[in-house]
Symmetry: C2
Subunit: 259 residues, 2 copies
C-alpha cells in the first residue's frame, strides 16, 4: 500500500518537516520504494515533482526537503506498486485541467473493475487503476457540469457521490485537490491534525527531527496535515472513520459526512 | 521575447550542457527574467519543473543543471513577460493530456486576437495568449479526431494547418511535443543542429563551458537541439526559414514544409 500526505493552510506554508518524515518511509522506515511525487498549489499555479525511484534515495526528494516551497495546498504520495509497473507515468499525484483549474489526485488502495467504467474527455497516460479512477471522476464532473458550477456546494456534493461510487470498487483512501479545496475520502485509513496557536514542538516518528512551530508561524496561522499514518509522536492525530468524506479549506475542516 | 530550447534524441540523453547556456540568458547574459520551465519525456511519462523566478537565480535551475535527467524529448522556455503577469500559472511549458498522451507547448512571440477563437474541452489556467493558443490547437485536434488517428501523417498535417492558422495572429515561434514527435513552427526565429558521429567538442556562447561529446556519446547517438538563438560558438546552426514547419523524431528531422 502507498502512503499519502496532504496539507491545507490559510497562509503559504512549507511542508519540509512533514515531507522529511514521509520520504523516510519510501525505502527506509517503510517499504514504499516504487516512486514518489509531490504537488504544490501556488495561487492558481501548480507545480509537481515526480521521481520513479525510492524517495529515501531520490535526489529530487533531497532537493525538495531543503528547498522551501510555500503553498496553501500540497498533495504528496509515495508508492508501493500493486497494479501498474514502476515508471514515471504511474507515479502519483496525477493532474488534469478541469474548468480552467488544475485538479490533483493521489490514492492509496486497490480498485477492482474500475476500468469497466466509461471515460469521456479524460484518458489515463499510465496503467494504474488509480489514474483511471481519477479520469472517471473528472469525466463525470465535466459531463454533469460543462461549465464550473457557481456554488462550491454543488461540486462538493458531486465529489462526495463520485468518491462513494469509486469506493465500491475496493479500497479508496484518497486526496483530491483543486485550487481552493482539498477533498478526502477514507476507505480504511486516513488521519489528520490541525496546527494552530498555541503552537508546540513536534517530533517526527520516522526521523530524528523536531520542529518548534512557535518559531516558524504567526498566531493566526492554521495548518491541517492529513496522512495515511500519523507522522509525529507527540501530537494528537484524529483517525478518520470508515466511509468518511471530509473537505478542507484554508487549513480548516469545512465539511464532513459519513456513509 | 522569450527563449526556447528543444531536444529530440534517439537515445535518452541529458540536456545539462545546453540548459547551462540557456539559463544564463534568464537574468544574466539576457533579460528573460520572468520565470522558466523545462519538461522531460521519459517513455510515456512526463515531468516538468517550473519556477516563476529568473532562471539565473533559480535554485530549481541550479538543481536541474547538475541533475542528469535522461530523456528523448525535452522542451525548455525562459520567459520575458509581455502579456500575462509573472506567476507560476503563466510559466511555460504548458501541458495537457490528449488521446492518453501528454502534449507540451512552449512559445516565443505575441499573438493578437487569439482569445476570440472558441475553445472546447481545454481551458487555460493562466492568462497568457500562448497557453490560450495551445488550448485552441488541442481543442481543434480533439474536435476533429475524438480518437487518436492511426497514421502519424494525419496528425502532422493537422498540426501544420493549425500552426499556420495561429501564426496569422502574430509571432509564433513554437515547440510542441507529444510522446513521439517534436513539432516546430518558425515565424521569425528558430535555429537547430544535429549532433552525431564524429562528435566534436562544443563551446557554449553564454557560459565558459565546453563539452567533448565524444566522451559522452556512442557512435550511433543522434541528437538534435533547437533554439531561438544558437547556443554554441563553434558549431554549424541552421536557421529555419520564415513560415517553416518542421517535425523531429528520434533526433532527426522527419519532415519540413514552407508556407
Amino acid at each position: 500500500m502507498c502512503e499519502l500526505l496532504g496539507m491545507s493552510a490559510n497562509v503559504p506554508t512549507d511542508i519540509c518537516f512533514s515531507f522529511s518524515g514521509l520520504i523516510k518511509r519510501g525505502g527506509k522506515t517503510g517499504s514504499h520504494k516504487d516512486g514518489w511525487g509531490i504537488a504544490f498549489y501556488e495561487g492558481k499555479g501548480y507545480r509537481s515533482f515526480h521521481d520513479p525511484v525510492a524517495s529515501a534515495d531520490s535526489e529530487v526528494a533531497k532537493f525538495i526537503q531543503h528547498y522551501s516551497i510555500k503553498s496553501t495546498q500540497v498533495i504528496c504520495h509515495i508508492r508501493k506498486a500493486n497494479r501498474g509497473r514502476v515508471c514515471l507515468e504511474n507515479t502519483h499525484p496525477f493532474s488534469r485541467e478541469l474548468w480552467g483549474d488544475v485538479w490533483c489526485f493521489a490514492h492509496n488502495g486497490q480498485l477492482k473493475g474500475i476500468k469497466k467504467k466509461a471515460l469521456k474527455g479524460y484518458k489515463p497516460i499510465g496503467t494504474t487503476d488509480s489514474e483511471y479512477a481519477f479520469c472517471w471522476i473528472l469525466s463525470q464532473l465535466r459531463e454533469e457540469f460543462p461549465m464550473k458550477p457557481k456554488s462550491h456546494v454543488t461540486i462538493r456534493n458531486a465529489m462526495e457521490r463520485l468518491c462513494k461510487e469509486v469506493a465500491k470498487h475496493g479500497v479508496f483512501n484518497v486526496l483530491i485537490s483543486n485550487v481552493g479545496h482539498l477533498y478526502t475520502f477514507c476507505s480504511t485509513k486516513l488521519t489528520w491534525l490541525t496546527r494552530q496557536a498555541p503552537f508546540v514542538e513536534a517530533q517526527l516518528l520516522d526521523a530524528d527531527l523536531c520542529v518548534d512551530f512557535k518559531k516558524e508561524t504567526t498566531n493566526t496561522d492554521v495548518v491541517t496535515v492529513i496522512a495515511t499514518e500519523p507522522l509525529t509522536s507527540n501530537e494528537q492525530w484524529t483517525k478518520m472513520r470508515v466511509g468518511e468524506f471530509s473537505v478542507f479549506r484554508l487549513g480548516a475542516k469545512e465539511f464532513t459526512s459519513f456513509s
